[in-house]
């Protein structure tokens, strides 16, 4: 049985990070930001209601604020810092081009969530995009450009597989 005390190894974007000094119950978000130096994932609600902290754990989009860091030791974690190399550079570019970025605080989580959505559904309809990204709050854009960026990426991927 695996047992983690205050140290563990997290595999983030393919790189092993040895972390120590974990607080009891420390969230993956806090560990990524304060111990791994990966501050791309953002915290804005501490309770899974905003999606700013979205990361992939074994390919599934989850809120890193609701993930206990010690419990995902050894699993594959992808954050916004690694999502481009993991194949979402086109999505990042589409967000920029579509005007889907204003203050940008929600953007890292949105890009990770949108990447997960497109992995599961390569040809989403508008409503499927809306249902798939309903966990990511944005206060600046009104979401219109975000929908466009995701649909643009999907159609470009279909044209150039």
């Amino acid at each position: 049985m695996k047992r983690v005390e205050t140290e563990c190894t997290l595999t983030v974007n393919g790189v092993d990070h040895a972390v120590s000094g974990l607080h009891p119950g420390e969230s993956l978000l806090d560990t990524l930001r304060e111990r791994c130096g990966l501050r791309g994932s953002k915290g804005a609600c501490e309770e899974g209601e905003c999606g700013s902290c979205t990361v992939l754990v074994d390919g599934e989009a989850v809120c890193s604020c609701l993930t206990m860091a010690a419990a995902v030791s050894g699993r594959s974690i992808v954050t916004v810092e690694g999502i481009g190399e993991a194949g979402a550079a086109d999505l990042q570019d589409a967000f920029l081009r579509a005007g889907a970025v204003q203050c940008g605080f929600c953007t890292p989580g949105l890009i990770v969530a949108a990447d997960a959505l497109l992995t599961r559904n390569s040809s989403p309809s508008v409503d499927e995009v809306r249902e798939g990204l309903a966990g990511n709050l944005c206060r600046c854009t009104g979401y219109g450009r975000i929908v466009e960026a995701v649909l643009d990426t999907a159609s470009q991927r279909r044209e150039q597989p």
Binding site: S27, V62, M68
Partner: protein, 285 residues
């Protein structure tokens, strides 16, 4: 603060029985409490992660008995999709209303039961399905009807360290449905939720209510009335029956006023949703 990550049921039993552990399933309730410091894990406590126990993430369906057994670690994302959307459509409907895609990827049906919130989206459905909860604890294994397991607002009869292994219920070709009122069209806590199961085999109707009482409620009188008034052979019931059942369910709800809604509206919501569900059920929509 050790975090134990058992990788099979035997290890889990060892981990859960030998300590007084904090059980971590999807984390969608526990981590919120920890982040807000409304709950704190002192360093001498043990956390047991349930995420990597394959037995908790399995499911089975016995076509002969009609029994569907769902491992406690099955996530809402899984429940939204095949085969659960066909086997237990009301549960799939409830799953689809849980939080966000990220929450549904993490949150589990077992966690929903253990947290025992009156607003837990899966609970009215499981209560209407008359589900049984299988658990293991230091006293061994037991099976408990969900209605007995839920003892109050966020309270259950689970002992410290007792782990929910699975939840079981019978499904048939009757009809089941769930509907939930939220003020937003996605990612919202239930203001009122109603589950209706029309069990064609047992010829029994069950209506359960969420967010309108200290715990999820079985609308017993409405269920009994509907069971007796529903024409199970012709699969129909009258408009008058629908109105009466809806009114009875509303009367059986025990809502309160809070920042999310008012008692009056919640009761009204139960009435409307019960009526609508029954019309859908009658037409097998």
């Amino acid at each position: 603060m050790p975090v134990l990550i058992p990788e099979n049921l035997a290890e889990l039993r060892e981990a859960a029985c030998s300590h007084d552990p904090v059980l971590l399933a999807g984390g969608t309730d526990l981590m919120v409490a920890l982040n807000h410091r409304s709950q704190r894990i002192e360093s001498d406590l043990t956390v047991v992660s349930l995420a990597q126990v394959p037995e908790l993430r399995s499911w089975s369906h016995d076509p002969t008995s009609g029994e569907l057994t769902i491992g406690s670690g099955i996530t809402w994302s899984q429940l939204e999709r095949a085969p659960f959307d066909a086997l237990a459509p009301a549960l799939a409907q409830a799953a689809r209303t849980v939080g966000s895609p990220q929450i549904r990827n993490a949150g589990t049906i077992g966690g929903n039961i253990a947290t025992a919130s009156p607003a837990g989206d899966g609970l009215p459905v499981l209560l209407a399905l008359d589900a049984t909860v299988d658990s293991v604890g230091s006293d061994g294994e037991r099976s408990t009807p969900l209605s007995e397991l839920l003892t109050g607002t966020k309270r259950t009869s689970l002992a410290p360290g007792e782990v929910i292994v699975a939840v079981r219920f019978k499904v048939d070709d009757g009809w089941q449905g769930y509907a939930k009122i939220g003020v937003r069209n996605a990612m919202v806590i239930s203001v009122a939720g109603v589950a209706l199961v029309l069990d064609g085999t047992a010829r029994r109707a069950r209506i359960a209510l969420g967010s309108v009482g200290p715990t999820v409620l079985l609308a017993g009188e409405a269920s009994a009335f509907l069971t007796s008034e529903f024409d199970w052979d012709a699969w129909t019931c009258s408009e008058a029956t629908i109105a009466t059942v809806a009114e009875m369910a509303a009367e059986e709800s025990r809502p309160i006023d809070d920042h999310r809604s008012t008692a009056e509206y919640r009761r009204h919501g139960v009435r409307v949703l019960t009526s609508r569900l029954l019309k859908r059920g009658r037409e097998r929509r």
